[in-house]
Symmetry: C2
Amino acid sequence: MLREIHARLPHENLIYFGDTARVPYGNKSSTTIIRYAREIVRFLLSRDVKAIVVACNTASSYALEAIRELTDIPVLGVIDPAVRSLTQKSATDSVAGLIATKGTIASLSYEAALKRLHGEQRLLTRACPLLVPLIEEGYADSAVADLILRDYLGPLAEQGAEYLILGCTHYPLIARAIARLYPQFKLIDSAEETAAELKAVLAQKNMLRSEDGGRVELYVSDMTDSMRSLQQLFFQSQVDIFEVAQVGDDH
Amino acid sequence: MLREIHARLPHENLIYFGDTARVPYGNKSSTTIIRYAREIVRFLLSRDVKAIVVACNTASSYALEAIRELTDIPVLGVIDPAVRSLTQKSATDSVAGLIATKGTIASLSYEAALKRLHGEQRLLTRACPLLVPLIEEGYADSAVADLILRDYLGPLAEQGAEYLILGCTHYPLIARAIARLYPQFKLIDSAEETAAELKAVLAQKNMLRSEDGGRVELYVSDMTDSMRSLQQLFFQSQVDIFEVAQVGDDH
């Protein structure tokens, strides 16, 4: 996501916050996710950001409203862009699969977005809690991943899904294996659409930066050993990392 | 662990704290683990406990000293009991494998305990970051688990390990699959030994309760959907669960 935004808006200064001290969010309750999201947003607001992208499906599913209560700047989630992409690309009578964390699936946020955006596609959903750990441990292309993916995606294929929404920001990293096992799925991922929407929103508000800038800062709540390799995995370039001992309290 | 302690000390009132809002600890840095452990210990001290068992290998590896700075009551980890069991059961020239989280392996806490307890067994170690998610998602007995276990344990078997220390409190739940794939390993797990050590410590300090009591309270930092099923998995009985919105701050 950071990569797509940086590519499309090369002059914007970007601040990325990764909550490495408390990830993963996918299995946590809505109450806890909202609390964490508010703490992080307070940190970002203290850095004077002009817009916020919630680049996590689980947080987008549960915390957007709570975040918007804290600020008047634009706050974008990743659910609407993915659903908009689906409604634009697919026929109204088509069937789409959605894979995501347990939290995102349980929230019914994609169903709500589909309704809000007047989509009539049929949505088949499946929580895939093992994909994030597999990806993070370097097993995206492995016999193990194939077994798990067949377990998770087989039922969606049997029920005739033509499209597959990658409803977690990690999943593009396992897209190659999915495409190999299930070439019939047209994959939809929210990164490009979200970056495009961010650009449109900034342009509309006359907030686009057209020169200089382009600085990327990466903040984490815990400097874990795997942070640098994850950084390589996601960003494919060297970016400075700063550690934030504790994000703002939200008692 | 709670089960073993409850079985061996049926009259003691037990308070269990599960940091569900921030698990897993296995991939986090020592700084963060120490901070979390201190916060939890402050909560337990506020409930007037007479002893503390750190029933997590990663926290035992990094945070025991920091915890002991906060209190004079007995604080037991799980590393020494497992190593003591190894030194008692195995010949001094035997080879033992250790499987654990990345954090526990990186800490070298087992090597340090072996030295402290004058053990001369050779220790082969392997971080197994996927076992906890597999167990939590119900894949302990599956083709997927078999593949991963062969990946993790194969090298230990090839190098002639006779004993295998289950260096994470989740791992006894995958012990059956390990025993099926590698019947040559004699498994060592710290739960029984830790419970025995707790009883010995309390007896020595004349703090054993000999009648009534036996209440078990379970506290979690996040009431997740999977908490109840995990509870069944680990405790095999109904126990009251309380949610603690936020454990004491440790700024």
